[in-house]
Subunit: 387 residues, 2 copies
Amino acid sequence: MSSGSVPAVAAADAAAGHPSSVAADSRSGWLDTIFTGDCVAALERLPKASVDAIFADPPYNLQLEGALMRPDQSKVDAVDDDWDKFASFEAYDAFTRAWLLACRRVLKPNGTIWVIGSYHNIFRVGTILQDLGYWTLNDIVWRKSNPMPNFRGKRFTNAHETMIWASRSREVRNYTFNYEAMKAFNDDLQMRSDWLLPICTGGERLKNGEGDKLHPTQKPEALLYRVLLSSTNPGDVVLDPFTGTGTTAAVARRLGRHFVGVERDPAYAEAARARVAAVEPAPSEGLVLQRPKRAEPRIPFGALLEAGLLAPGTVLTDARGRHRAIVRADATLESDGVVASIHRMGAIAQGLDACNGWTFWHAHVDGELQAIDVLRTIVRREIAAAS
Amino acid sequence: MSSGSVPAVAAADAAAGHPSSVAADSRSGWLDTIFTGDCVAALERLPKASVDAIFADPPYNLQLEGALMRPDQSKVDAVDDDWDKFASFEAYDAFTRAWLLACRRVLKPNGTIWVIGSYHNIFRVGTILQDLGYWTLNDIVWRKSNPMPNFRGKRFTNAHETMIWASRSREVRNYTFNYEAMKAFNDDLQMRSDWLLPICTGGERLKNGEGDKLHPTQKPEALLYRVLLSSTNPGDVVLDPFTGTGTTAAVARRLGRHFVGVERDPAYAEAARARVAAVEPAPSEGLVLQRPKRAEPRIPFGALLEAGLLAPGTVLTDARGRHRAIVRADATLESDGVVASIHRMGAIAQGLDACNGWTFWHAHVDGELQAIDVLRTIVRREIAAAS
DNA sequence: AAACGCTCTGAATCTCGCG
DNA sequence: ACGCGAGATTCAGAGCGTT
C-alpha cells in the first residue's frame, strides 16, 4: 500500500491513444492517475478486473427548458452544460449502457459499483444496471439538509438524490461491506439506507477565477467518505469514470485508497489533480476498522478444555438456567443421553434448527454466570500474545 | 360531491365481462366501487379520461430465494405469493407496460399518477413511465421509522421505499398540487421529497381469522393521506389498480374523494369493501384547504411605504435581532453599504442562496416584533375592501 | 396503577470455508 | 461444484402478562 506517497497526478491523454500511458500488465502506469478523455475509451485501456470499487456521478440528463427564477427574481444557476444534453432517452440509454459495460469489464469479480442520480436519470441507470447483470445491494437516499427550495410551488421540494449500490452479479457474496464500522459510525445502530448530509458549500466548494462555483454538481466529501468507508478497504483501487472536480479521488487518497479517474473536461481534470495532490492521507493506523467476528481465528470448543478453562464434567446452562448439559472430555456436550456439539445441543435444547453454542451456553466464571464466548476470548488473547 | 353518502361497495366482476357493470357514459355504474379481476381488463371497461389521480402499489418482483432467519432463529414471514413471481425482467416489464398503458387511457389529461416500489422494481417502473410519455414530477422517499433490520449484516438496512409522482405528459401544467396545504401540514416549511412514517402495524393492520396479517404488504393510511391531500381535491376520482386491502379507497372516502379499485384476489377485494364501508367521511367543511397564495394579489414591498405602514429609515431585524437593515425610500434595504431587495438582503445576511424577505425581516408593530408579512396582510385586506 | 420485561413481527433480493 | 456444519446476525413498536 502506497497511500502515504504522493500520487502520480500527471495528465495522461487516454482518448488520444498513447499506448504508453496505460500498461496492460502493471498498475504503475495508471494507478492514482486522473486521465483526461472520454471514460469509455479510457476504461478500454485499463486491464480487465483491475478495480475494487467504482463511484460514478454521470450526467443527469436534466432536460431543463428556460431559466428558473427565485421568488426574489434572481436567476438560478442551472446545469445547462453541453455534457448534460442528450437528444432522447434512447441516446441517454446508449450512453449509459456503454459506460456501465466498460465499468463492468474493469471491475474485479467481487467489486461493487455506486451510481448517483436523480429522478431524471436514476431509473434508467437502475434498469440498465439490472439488464447488464449487476445485482442491486441497496439504493441509498442522500437526504440533503439544505436543498434548493421549489420556487414555483408546483412540486415537493426535491430534497434528495439516489445512489444505487450493486455487485457485479447475483452470485457474488464476498463483496466488501464494513458492516461493523458503519454500525459504529451510526451510534451502534445499523446504518440505514437514508443518509442526511449537507450539500457541498463553503470552503469545500471549488471556485473559478471569478469566485463562482467551478463545477455545477460537485458532491460533498462526506458522501464519498461514507461510500468508501463502507464498501472498500485501505489499499483498494477506486475508479471514478466522471471525475469532475475529483471528490472521489480526494477522499480515496485521504482514506488510503488508490484511485483512477477519468474526466473529459481538461479544466476540471486539472483542478482535480491539483486538489488531490494537496490531500494529506490519514495515517494508516487510523484506517484500521473494527475487525468483524467472522475474521477472527476459529477456536474449537476443545481448546477451552486443553487450556484448562473448562473441565470435563462441568455443567453448562443457558442464561436463565432452563437448559443444562455436561461437558465431556472429547468436547461434546451430553444431555438426557444425547451427545452433540455445543451448537447442535443448543439447537436441540431450544427445538430450533440452529444455534450459536458460544453465546447460548453459560458457565460460572469467577462466581458469575457468563457465556462461554468469554472463555473463547481468553484463548484468542493467549494465542495472539504467543505469536 | 357525494362524500357523505354511503359508497357502492358491491362486488362487480369486471374481468368476467358484464357490460352492465360499467357504463360508458356515466359514472353511476363504477364510481366508489371495488372490482374483482385483472386490472388491465377492468380498466379497459372504464371510460377514457375519467379519473383524476391514480395510486398504484404493483408487485415488486422481489426475487427471494430460500428462507431468512432472524438471529433468534425465528423465520421471517416473506412475501412468497404467486402474484409476486415473474419469469424474467422482460416479463415484469411487459406486465408493467400493460397496466401503465391502461392507466394512461383512463387518466384525465391533467391527472397524475403515483407508483410505489422498492429498488427491486422501481427503476423499471420509472423507465417505463418515462417511455410511455408520463412526466416525472417528483420521486418521494418513504422513510420507515421502524423498518425490518438487516439480519445478516451484509447490507445497509433497507429503510425506505420510493414513490414516483408523474403527470400524464410533459406539456401538462395544470395538475393538482396543494402546495400551501402541504406547507401548512409541514409546519410552514415546504413539504420535502422525503417523508418519515411508520409502517402499518397494530390495529390498522387487517388480520385474518388466525390473527395473522391478512395481506403481506398493507400500506399505512398516513402515506395515502399525504398522497391524496397533496395531489387531489374533494370530489376527485382516485383509482387504485392494485387495491389489496383497500387503503387507498379507505383514505379517499375519509377525505371526501371518490374511488375506483381493482383487486384480483376475491378475499382481499371483499375485505377492502368491508373496510371502506366502515369509513366515516370527514365533514366537507373540514376538507377546505388553505387558499393558494398565488390567487392572492402580489404586493410589492414598496406598497408598505406607500400605505404608510413603514417609513423610510425604519430599522428591520431578523426574528432574533442578529441582523439589521435600514428601509430606503425606493423600497430597497441597506446594510453595511450594501443595497438590495428585502429577499436578497435576507439571503446576504444569512450567507444563503435565497431567502423570503417577507418572513425573514421583522419590524416593531404595536410594540411587538413581527414579520413584515403581517403588514402585507394588512395591505391585502385594504385592497380587498376597496374593490 | 404504572413500570417493566418478555414475545412477536415487519415488501428482505441477508454466510462462508472446508472437504 | 456441492454438501455440510460452524457460528454470526436485529430495531422499533405493539401487545400482554407480571411486578
